[in-house]
Symmetry: C2
Subunit: 226 residues, 2 copies
DNA sequence: GCAAAAGTGTTGATCCTACACCCATGG
DNA sequence: CCATGGGTGTAGGATCAACACTTTTGC
């Protein structure tokens, strides 16, 4: 029997949201294969670390972002997805709040940048496929779990939340119905702070009430926003 | 830098449904570690095969079942989940129709059997954790994808479908409302065949209309059964 | 004829969808 | 005073949940 010769890696699809744009964090490869292509941050798992630790380490080393939400996405293991060795990659799905958008000052060759998912460069390996799957996951998940809040600042305007949903779900939302539904869930805290965004009537700030959500969830409460 | 020394395996949680019981396919290990414990079928991935091929091969070799539905479940990679070497396991989720329930005649040491998920033996490794996740997946998925049909014979009674839902979701269902809702989806074909199950009024047989479902799905149709 | 399972409709409550005007501010 | 975005209610339609009796067969 031939000895198994497969490497195991992790890759992360890290989403950020800013200016009505869904962005993804990419790094420019400075080694072959796919030298000078943009790719998802990631790399081989070390012998003693868990998969999550590997993702966190790679993100720290390559991009310097702090992650606000992380979950496993899918594992990609086709022979030939890496032209040199066989590599099975466990892909992760991550969200970053605007507070944590700042990335590593590009030291030298190893460039890091946010790209709008609407204007992606050509990606290395099967990373486009992974990214597409992550986008689908985000789209789906937005409807039945309150993860949108991990893409917004801690304090946000209702219109921010609404724009986030329209942007990511790529469809219009009725403002009144949306507000009614979200507020009826009773997971937002309305702050006593208004903010005037240039022109127009100043708007109230809201906060996601994590504890309240946790409590409701225990009672089989269903978050469900279409 | 230390050379990576991690093995990659696949494991499968294979569900079958029979006599109002959700069953899972297990094999009895005949090698250490966990010798003589029951475990999920699975094993190391070969250098040249895809992950899916590995699952299919292992199931063929170890259990001889034919799979009707297969999807990736989750990857488990904690260091220490295998006491000897580090192994990352990509777990799969599989469903088998009653037509395919027959398993390998137990050749000798290597035993294979269906266990009710209500009466499980102690399992090797972290396989109980994997099984629990698969059960959750099945429960969730039953509500928004028509995968229940992959646990039923090609021709089935409406009451079979209903019992399957009550068994797996572990809750009562209103017979009239359930029938109304499923029939309104327009994905079942009512056959012109009746079957008399011992006593009681003979019941009509139904078939799942895969093509019709595929067509509806393209039009953004939502399967949604609570 | 009785036990067992199959088949079938209606109603009230709830939720969803569509829709338009006034308010508070900055320039 | 006007442009810009914020905030709000209602009504009709659709969907859901609750509920019980009749039919067909085997014994």
């Amino acid at each position: 029997m031939v000895r198994q010769n497969i490497k195991i890696a992790v890759d992360a699809v890290v989403f950020g949201y800013k200016d009505r744009n869904l962005n993804v964090l990419l790094i420019k490869r400075d080694v072959a294969p796919y030298r000078n292509y943009w790719a998802l941050p990631g790399g081989l798992v070390l012998n003693e670390e868990s998969l999550e630790q590997a993702v966190e380490r790679e993100l720290r080393e390559e991009t310097n972002v702090t992650i606000d939400y992380l979950e496993q996405l899918y594992s990609f293991g086709e022979p030939g997805r890496d032209p040199r060795n066989r590599v099975v990659s466990v892909a992760y799905f991550a969200l970053v709040k605007p507070e944590h958008h700042s990335i590593k000052a590009d030291t030298d060759a190893n460039d890091v940048a946010w790209f709008s998912v609407k204007e992606l460069p050509e990606l290395a390996f099967d990373h486009l496929k992974i990214l597409r799957m992550a986008k689908d996951r985000l789209k789906n998940k937005l409807s039945y779990e309150p993860i949108g809040f991990d893409l917004l600042a801690n304090k946000f305007l209702f219109s921010d939340l609404e724009k986030l949903y329209t942007t990511i779900l790529e469809k219009d939302i009725d403002r009144r119905n949306f507000r009614k539904k979200i507020l009826s869930l009773d997971i937002l805290e309305e702050l006593d702070e208004k903010v005037s965004e240039g022109r127009g009537r100043p708007a109230n700030l809201f906060k996601f009430n994590q504890k309240q959500y946790a409590k409701l969830k225990k009672d089989n409460f269903l978050f469900d926003i279409k």
